[in-house]
């Protein structure tokens, strides 16, 4: 055996049943450690590949399945806009739209601040008929957060949504109405929270 590799204190070459030198065994074990490190480094890719292979990860596919299970039906959408104070001119680019349920709808609203001062506002939605509101699935909306308008700024803002195919059959026309409220400087947070709950 290799005396220089023997444990401290062991002086004579002994007849222990060695598998190999200590350093050789330790090297093999270090290779296991490196293998483990490589294994964990590969995990993000392996995980994604596994989830895509099995379809676990495919949110789009899940959405397709959900949509295809119920056929879409035609429905008329009407858009309305009001401003609680006269300072903001607020109107939709489209007044009315014929769509199918389950389709993704993209509508643009236009806002103009007619004042000489900065205005902070928050749009609050309402629906007609009211019970149809639960079937409007918003993906993106300017009403999600407060908007700050510079003096005389004109801005176009998006709302993206789809109508749930489970919309009751008696609803043939659905009106989506936004009202812009000016946010007082102090109470901004409270209004924002309550508005988000309602959307």
């Amino acid at each position: 055996m290799n005396p220089e590799l023997s444990p401290v204190g062991s002086t004579t070459a002994d007849s222990r049943p060695r598998v190999g030198s200590n350093v050789r065994i330790a090297s093999i074990l270090v290779i296991v450690v490196v293998g483990s490190l490589l294994f964990v480094a590969a995990q993000p890719r392996l995980y994604r590949a596994f989830c895509e292979w099995t379809g676990l990860y495919d949110i789009d596919r899940a959405e397709q399945v959900a949509v295809s299970s119920l056929p879409g039906r035609p429905v008329t959408l009407e858009f309305d806009a009001n401003s609680h104070d006269g300072g903001l001119l607020f109107r939709p680019q489209t007044n009315s739209l014929a769509v199918k349920t389950g389709e993704i709808v993209h509508v643009i609203y236009r806002v103009e601040n007619t004042r000489d001062s900065t205005v902070i506002g928050q749009a609050v939605p309402s629906y007609g008929p009211q019970h149809a509101g639960g079937y409007v699935k918003k993906l993106e909306c300017f009403c999600f957060k407060q908007q700050t308008f510079a003096p005389h700024e004109v801005r176009e803002m998006d709302v993206v949504f789809l109508i749930d195919p489970k919309l009751p059959d008696d609803v043939a026309t659905l009106t989506l109405s936004y009202t812009f409220f000016e946010v007082p400087a102090g109470g901004a947070k409270a209004l924002a929270t309550s508005a988000e709950v309602r959307t």
Partner: protein, 537 residues
Amino acid sequence: MQATHTAGHAGDHHHDDHAHYPSGWKRWVTTTNHKDIGSMYLWFSFVMFLVGGAMSLIIRAELFSPGLQYVSPEFYNQMLTLHALIMVFGAIMPAFVGFANWMIPMMIGASDMAFARMNNWSFWLLPPAAILLTVSIFVPGGAAGTGWTLYPPLSVQMGIGMDMTIFAVHILGMSSIMGSINIVTTILNLRTPGMTLMKMPLFCWTWLVTGFLLIASMPILAGAVTMLLTDRHFGTTFFNAAGGGDPVLFQHIFWFFGHPEVYIIALPAFGVVSHVIPAFSRKHLFGYTSMVYAIAAIGLISFFVWAHHMYVTGIPLTGQLYFMYATMLIAVPTGVKVFNWVTTMWRGSLTFETPMLFALGFLVLFTIGGLTGLVLAMTAVDIQLQDTYYVVAHFHYVMVAGALFSAYSGLYFWLPKWTGHMYNEGLGKLHFWLSIIFFNIAFFPQHFLGLAGMPRRIPDYSQQFADFNVVSSVGAFGFGLSQLLVLIVVFQAVKGGAKADSRPWDGAHGLEWTVPSPAPYHTFEDPPAFDAAEAHA
């Protein structure tokens, strides 16, 4: 045998004992002696046990009554996180590494560990890690408050305390890997002639498998926390959905480490008990070969059951079923072991000294913890019990009554060999009875709390849980205080007491009992003769 290599030359013996190391603190900093390092591991783990225990008492004080009394919810979260990390990585694991350092060379007839200097490093990495963990309480934002699982997104958001925890985990991982390489090499290479693997003491077998589990699984944890670190500071999005990552990936990686970790803690505990029960039954261990295969099977299967911690993360039904059955499969080799321990005692000539009492306490309570584990393995049940106090009760039965009781069993068993004095048997028994009674008062009611729906990791709770929480807190404080007894016992045994024979337990077998008590500083400089009839005892 004793006369041939230890007591042969009285002069040399004295020389061995005192000449080779510097005096004072330098001895402990520079030592490469497996006995010194084993002692340091054991003392370190006991200090960490007291620190982690104090944290658990803060938790139980807060839970004594509903509402928020003593600590803020943030601090409560930090306490439960540090309690878990310190107990797992600072107390239980180093305790069994300490046993391995002390006992494995003596059990296999080696003069020291294979890499004595690396052994010194393995130990001295621990204090910096422990300091990082505990000091993180005082930095802005406090310590990690995520639970020991460090799940993102919370762990990506926390303050610098989280970074300190990550570095502590890195250091602890390095220490464990170095220690395991050392232990595995020692066991494979330095056994005395004639001691084949299947004649090796069972504690060595449990550590051989544990060493492999550590070597394979600690790098996984290191990788997971490194990804957390880069997510936190370097703009990667491994676990951030907004950047294309997935927080559930962390859970998979963590538990791929985390489940073997459970057996890293449990297997050496099995090993200790497999020595104590035969010794006090005055019989050979029943079913040695099946024990070895059971250890190997547990070690192997432990890598394939990780997602039973994740039944509610949305894994598909097929996955839930696979992990449920695979988890239940682990109960088979574990059941074999429990059967063998009980059968070892069957028609044995039993006596009930403290080591045996702790081994029996282990056997009963670990079996209860194993059974609640089987309950939790069932997906349908687990969805109800996930993150409730039932889980807390389950893992404290296997961690405290399993690993800790086994460590105490080993401590009382080998203390005469380490100190040369018999410990105070009366105090030892008192320690056992106080421990087992208060342990059950503390943790048994938590089963009921969990079944009734009390969530874990929350500092406040609904009024209907108040009574059982009072009981549990009383038990926890009783358990915590009675652990101080072991300090008295150990100090007494170190200072003096009845002289211990080289083999103080008449039923104990193995090479470690052929050297005098206390064990000389250097043992087995020449490989001892190995009597195969003495094997497996």
